[in-house]
Symmetry: C2
Subunit: 474 residues, 2 copies
């Protein structure tokens, strides 16, 4: 019987195995993607532009784990908390994947008792959101964050964050853009004078945040219907959130009989005035719009908030530009670090996050359209042979080149055809071929071929490295 059972079990295992094979789904998880070498080449270009800017502003760099204790993230994201990825309880601590880089940064500051730092952090974050991958919206995506923490004189670091957004978006040549600016204190003051009860500030703020995706009528009905706001209060909000302008609008609102009586709003407006003076000195006011409909979803902002959007060119297709949306955003969050400090000590912070995935999407589409060919390697020379039985000689030569720091490849064949070796260079953009042959070996030379021009020249073996360096300018 035991034997029969063993046989049957074996059969079952085989069946199970086959079934598994047929059902196997070959894909990445929903809302995520692989990066191919070509996509990586674009990604590295964008990262370089961003990192160069962050370093130009004197930022240090840090890194934190991809997951945090679940309680570290709890109560930081308001209504969006439902989008946090939790890890399975496999014994030990309860963990969640980071939702942004700001909360881990605040945790890092409190944990290490740092009261003063300017740092950037480029890493992936995770949100169980509805992905719209063609528009650059993923469940796993990069954030590129620059933050300034410390007790400083008002609006100087805030102005630098906006300067950074301006520099990066200009550098990347994504087309015209606009940076919308507002202040949570102005919003809260506005809610107060419109008759929103204190307890509803955050949830009404979330509704206002949807104004970039929904018309006012829908947002209004959410406020009144779902969130129980009085229709009169909603209508008063509706009037304010239409306003946008520059320094003039700040002046106008400082004269507003209701708003100017509200302490918070007044503080916010005075700071906005100062901010705009600094931005004028930076020469970037042309791209700035004070916009009372800007709310930003996250709970932790306490002062200035901002968001950069690409602006429709008149001759563009409407759908394309609209679909991209915000490409950078940020603001001031003076209370977040205090939430982690055992004694509640505050460290004021302001920061900006660059929405790199959307920028990738735009550049990828543009590159696709342009048919520009991107190299995905930096190889300077292919070590080739013209006859058979020269593998050993190729291996010896390529080791010499590698040891001299030359970027070199060979085909992994004992006896590759010269034509195939040249074709490989054409396909991958390798500019030079170092050809070893019987005669060259006897003469102590290597034949160096320039792929683009088909020019061939014999180079003495001891000068080959210098010759390759000169010809590839490295």
């Amino acid at each position: 019987i035991a034997k029969e059972v063993a046989k049957l079990l074996e059969l079952k295992a085989q069946l199970g195995g086959d079934e598994g094979k047929h059902k196997f789904v070959l894909k990445t998880p929903k809302g995520t993607r692989d990066y191919s070498p070509k996509q990586m080449a674009i990604r590295e270009r964008v990262f370089n532009a961003i990192i160069t800017c962050f370093k130009r502003h004197g930022a240090e760099v840090i890194d934190t784990p991809v997951f945090e204790l679940k309680e570290t993230l709890t109560g930081k994201y308001g209504e969006d908390s439902k989008l946090i990825y939790d890890l399975k309880d496999q014994g030990g601590e309860l963990l969640s994947l980071r939702y942004d880089l700001t909360v881990p940064f605040a945790r890092y500051l409190a944990m290490n008792k740092i009261t003063n730092i300017k740092r950037y952090h480029i890493a992936k974050v995770y949100r169980r959101d509805n992905p719209a991958m063609t528009k650059g919206r993923y469940r796993e995506f990069y954030q590129c964050d620059f933050d300034i923490a410390g007790q400083f004189d008002p609006m100087i670091p805030d102005a630098e964050c906006l300067k950074i957004v301006h520099e990066i978006l200009s550098d990347l040549q994504l087309g015209d853009f606009l940076v919308k600016v507002n202040d949570r204190r102005i919003l809260d003051g506005m809610f107060a004078v419109c008759g929103v009860p204190d307890s509803k500030f955050r949830t009404i703020c979330s509704s206002v945040d949807k104004l970039d995706k929904m018309p006012w009528e829908e947002v209004r009905s959410e406020m009144v219907g779902e969130k129980g706001l009085s229709p009169e209060a909603a209508d008063r909000i509706g009037e304010y959130v239409q306003l946008h302008g520059g320094l003039d609008l700040v002046g106008q609102l400082l004269q507003d009989p209701k708003l100017s009586q509200n302490k918070l709003a007044k503080e916010g407006l005075e700071d906005m005035k100062l901010l705009f003076e600094y931005l004028t000195l930076f020469g970037i006011m042309g791209k700035i719009s004070f916009d009372l409909s800007l709310a930003r979803g996250l709970d932790y902002y306490t002062g200035v908030i901002f968001e950069a959007v690409l602006v429709q060119q008149e001759n563009d297709h409407v759908e394309e530009a609209v679909s991209v949306g915000s490409v950078a955003g940020g603001g001031r969050y003076d209370g977040l670090v205090g939430m982690f400090d055992p004694k509640g000590r505050k460290v004021p912070c302001v920061g900006v996050s660059i929405g790199i995935e959307r920028i990738f999407s735009i550049l990828e589409q543009r590159l696709e359209a342009s048919e520009e060919k991107i190299r995905t390697t930096e190889t300077q020379v292919l070590v080739a042979s013209a006859q058979k039985k020269l593998l050993e000689e190729r291996l010896k030569l390529i080791a010499e080149l590698w040891d001299a720091g030359i970027k070199a490849e060979i085909l992994y064949k004992k006896n590759p055809k010269l034509l195939n070796q040249l074709q490989y260079c054409e396909d991958t953009g390798i500019p030079l071929v170092a050809i070893v042959g019987e005669q060259e070996l006897k003469d102590g030379v290597v034949k160096l071929r320039v792929v683009a021009t088909r020019e061939e020249v014999n180079v003495r073996r001891e000068t080959l490295v210098d010759e390759i360096r000169t010809r590839t300018c490295q």
Copy 2:
């Protein structure tokens, strides 16, 4: 009553809030760490050395998501599968954090039907292992992988992987090292001729893998006690796994009356001979040791396997060097991609993974001991003022510098003291100070101060950018 209940609930919420505050644990998850700016500076140096080497060998770069479908990882890691982190089932797909970069690479190849690629991938992987963080063993850690996929002539790509290990460990100057090499076919052949039943090959292989951490006696008792191997078979294995050497040992084993009769072992030994010929041409046989006790834990290897260890210097402290262990490893896995292909099509692969965390630990300790000061920013110049009320002028000047690509900082104070500004340069290593003052503004100059020498020189504003570039060689 409703009023009373509301009051009580409010009281409860307050209590709950306070309780929460007191119990709050301010830490990163077990086995993980933050990287401070100083640690990041070391990390970037190491990454640069590794990436430079990978690019020298013509590798492209890819990236994959941090999590995979759970089924993608199932059945690839043998006994280590219990160390995989699963995500919580929040509806939708079942996901796990990647355990290495090799399985995602194989999934990527099968999914995109790629039969030929040389790529590197640097990213974090996750293992619920017992961390030993002082020794550089974490639950979240970086892997730096280089792999060659494709049907090629034997041992040429395998030899290149070993050359890469040699180049990287030499470049990083970690001290003397040894690369142990073996072959799964030789191990399997050895198990067969020692009398291990086929079904026990993988589990006995796992036991052999522990020989670098346990004495033979313990490994033997695990084989016999836990895994039910006959004592005679274990003793025969015990004789083989003591052997290590070079080309001579390959020759000796090809003469071994039992082993040479085993088809698999013979194939492995013939290939090992070829590999050593290539490594001799590369000039690196001095650091290579053919070691029959090397097994590597992972299930998916099918041919050559290798592992690099740092070698004890005679004058070193024993504890320190021993604790570091393996700093690179890899091997051939010809069956893995086929496990993902719906039709089982195979893509032969060989690759190497650099154990970067252990390398960090060593370099960090060394740097700590040397008291060398590392800069964590690249700022070229601090824009300072000698008198009060010059914030606007500082902002105007720094915007000019940023727009010209100069790395510049200011203190975020309206009226900082000159001494504090100079001290900031001392602390952070900024080499130059551009000082604006009333007189300088009138004269159209900026006072440029060299921090190291205290030399001061007036520079015309229009030549300031060039002067800073020249003086900082950028």
